[in-house]
Assembly symmetry: C2
Homo-oligomer: 586 residues x 2
Amino acid sequence: MKSSNIYERFSQTFRQHPSLSRFLVVFAVSSKNPLLFTHFSGGGLVAYSEGNILSSSPKIDELPEAGNKKKRVVVLGTGWAGTSFLKNLKNSSYDVQVVSPRNYFAFTPLLPSVTVGTVEARSVVEPIRNIVKKKNVNVNFLEAECYKIDAKNKKVYCRSTQDEKEEFIVDYDYLVVAMGARVNTFNTPGVEENCLYLKEVEDALKIRRSVIDCFEKASLPNVSEDERKRMLQFVVVGGGPTGVEFAAELHDFVSEDLVRLYPAVKDFVKISLLEATDHILNMFDKRITAFAEEKFHRDGIDLRTGSMVVKVTDKEISTKEIKTGKISTIPYGMAVWSTGIATRPVVMDFMKQIGQANRRVLATDEWLRVEGTNSIYALGDCATINQRKVMEDISSIFKKADKDNSGTLTVKEFQEALDDICDRYPQVQLYLKNKKMSNLVDLLKESKGDVAKESIALNVEEFKSALSQVDSQMKNLPATAQVAAQQGSYLADCFNRMDECEKHPEGPLRFRESGRHRYKHLGQFAPLGGEQTAAQLPGDWVSIGHSTQWLWYSVYASKQVSWRTRSLVVSDWMRRFIFGRDSSQI
Amino acid sequence: MKSSNIYERFSQTFRQHPSLSRFLVVFAVSSKNPLLFTHFSGGGLVAYSEGNILSSSPKIDELPEAGNKKKRVVVLGTGWAGTSFLKNLKNSSYDVQVVSPRNYFAFTPLLPSVTVGTVEARSVVEPIRNIVKKKNVNVNFLEAECYKIDAKNKKVYCRSTQDEKEEFIVDYDYLVVAMGARVNTFNTPGVEENCLYLKEVEDALKIRRSVIDCFEKASLPNVSEDERKRMLQFVVVGGGPTGVEFAAELHDFVSEDLVRLYPAVKDFVKISLLEATDHILNMFDKRITAFAEEKFHRDGIDLRTGSMVVKVTDKEISTKEIKTGKISTIPYGMAVWSTGIATRPVVMDFMKQIGQANRRVLATDEWLRVEGTNSIYALGDCATINQRKVMEDISSIFKKADKDNSGTLTVKEFQEALDDICDRYPQVQLYLKNKKMSNLVDLLKESKGDVAKESIALNVEEFKSALSQVDSQMKNLPATAQVAAQQGSYLADCFNRMDECEKHPEGPLRFRESGRHRYKHLGQFAPLGGEQTAAQLPGDWVSIGHSTQWLWYSVYASKQVSWRTRSLVVSDWMRRFIFGRDSSQI
């Protein structure tokens, strides 16, 4: 396979020196929000990974000791967590095998845009082989599905995604489980058979075809008015960020593009959003929820809160009103199910092996090590961190903070240990926030009564009682791209300085300065359609409207995994703006 | 479904005034070849339709006579022929229904590029509703398949492509059959089950996934070397322009992009091109064939001419050497079948109804009217023009040319009728070309012996004998996009001035000045990979190399059906040049 000519060589130059290509991208990302752009680095995966808080640069162990075989690391999954781990792994003393049914990384936060063609599927994916090929670490990709983890013998069993008979076994020294989760149907009858999901790129493409299908079918003659209404009734189940964003994108697609092409049936279109709780976007600030509900109302999106889906057939969805128990049915043309996630069967099976059978989600310690194992790590949507309670560690915290071993903590001593406590036990910060206190000193003050700040001094019992309530605020990290990417980057740093860590082992009862996974929330967007977006930023900032939409454009463009996807996404946005979205049935 | 804001309104402005958008397309198409760009008109379908030769502007009948119901025209198909007809139909006295299983027009000449992602599928399609929506003619699109034409009762039977139970009947006054053709497997066993085709957009997408599948599967452990070789053996059957272009695109994809991502298996890749005749690109000039064969040889593409496929199983292709009869087998990973076209079953059934049962292809007269019917037209790949022989019409040609009714033709009289004869009977031109004569006068001269040009005068028998051999050069028009588009535009013009035509009816025996379909060949490209293209232009021009590749880029960009697809195709080419092709498995 040889071939060469001047054009090719010129073009090769671009590809071998990808930094050149960025000069050709004419889109300038403005740094409006310094926090969100802190580590904006072109060409690399920045992908929400700014949360990495290791101040010391990782020690890169380039040469493995003589006679020492390279440690075999197997990574399961190429989503946010797995890809972020691979991107940040720099220690060449590992031999890495990646097993995933998808040979690409997908920028999932843009999937709702892909469902209606605001952005093309191709623009949000990047081959994993492309992502890892420039590294000094030896990474080998295998397109296969892991169907069994054998923790005892340190093996994973895999099968080809194309040919079920093609099976193989991979041995590991360290296993990184980043397989994500499956859609949670809550065992609602008929969901699997009749609803579409919005988790994978294929799901988004299916939805796109299905929307056009409904419009084409409703445009045929001999279709009764009732049938036409049914076909153009789109139902979104789940009022979380994904469901809300999809409903908004669908509304824009219909009102900006399809009404012009299907004038005869446009009046039959209806979009309904079903949510079991009282409000959509529960995890956001109330101002955002209120704004979103009001906007959907204005847009004519039928919002049904407090309404739980109990059954789905091929043409009807049955819902139960939570308050009254009243059952009603909605005839529908297309339904998208987006209510949350659940553990994959292969992970369930693995949990049984390691004594986590009675848990619903795979648990890890704060170092992302799976509880009950010593060489398996889990991150992203497939696991949760079993956060330590302050009360469990209260004595060691006290001892650590009490530097002069006086048996009492002064405010000065306490303030020095403060950041570490807050980082390690996020519940402390949440507790303070809810009580509207600016820092822990206020809490101590409260417990000691009205004394001067300088004279506060607590013994261990007083310290315990002051913090006794904070564990009530323990919360799991949300299953978002941001969390997964930060975890991946954290774990890669741990692997990069593994030798160092082995010399200075870290255990759950130690209270050291660095090396633990501390999640830094950078804010979350909720696009609402019509070029309006809401954002909840750190420090209780809420931003809503057109300017936030532009912030969203900037952040999402900057977070792209490669310059290729970045330029494609930006040109997709421009294309949509100029020509609208395409409604061809492909 | 209401929604409005300043961004949307701005963006709407663009879409409602599509001419604005062309200012944003920064790609300037240079008019290198005036012939190819004669009627380059932005925003409209130019699509090879320059062959339209009506000099008088069509009479647009805006108001149908009072009490006179609009004529119902049904168009079957949205390929080159159907779309070109719809684009050029301007007479609002028709009520048009379009029935097609595809709700879009596809720029099929770029399909080989789509198979490897040089151009994205989305960039070569345009919704048919978009194409027809700005016309003053009432056009209604129905996404369905016509499964039966009832010529007697003027009805077509259709069924929804999504739901087989959804059937309906459409009545017509005029029927335009433009359903294209199916792939011809020549009843070779196993082709349908095991080979991929390259006719539809879906076919191209399937091939793209299949190529990556082969590379991923060959990269798995536990695969033997023989199996790896088999999986990466790509076979293209058919050495016509499509097969050759696909083989070239595949070679570029492998050598420019995949070898970098799959270094472990790159040496196993082999591309074979099988052709039953002695040479590839038979319909082109011999210089092009020789250049293409030489280039493929240099590129390491395994060219097997004189080799006919006799059987295909899931892992092996059996071929027979035409000369020796020797059978051999090729283990393969992916095979693409591109050997020609055959008539669709629904058209076969229709042919039986109208007395064409013993023909292989639906026959029309020169006016594209299906023989044996009076209100059905057929064009594009689904029909051939049953060209009239000069000998059948020789008396009327003579009479028409003999303006003074003298019973003899002088050279002057003859020269006046010359263009019409050549236009109407293309075989005359071909005959002259083969005998290296510049025009018909030379032919007459030859038959009269060596006399002075002015004194030539032929009676009808002498005229007959002079032209007696020309019908031997009769040839069907090739099944190309160019022919289909010219036919569509010709037929639309006929429909536009239908009233006029009814007042002055045209029959096959009349020899009038205008209104007949005369095909004007504008040349044909054969892209050969590595930024090299061959082109056969009118007047026996042959152009090969890099500059021809740029001509190809210009022509294909200018021929796009809309400014949207034009800008997308151009940006795809730039994207490929900068970032290479994407190998994600979606």
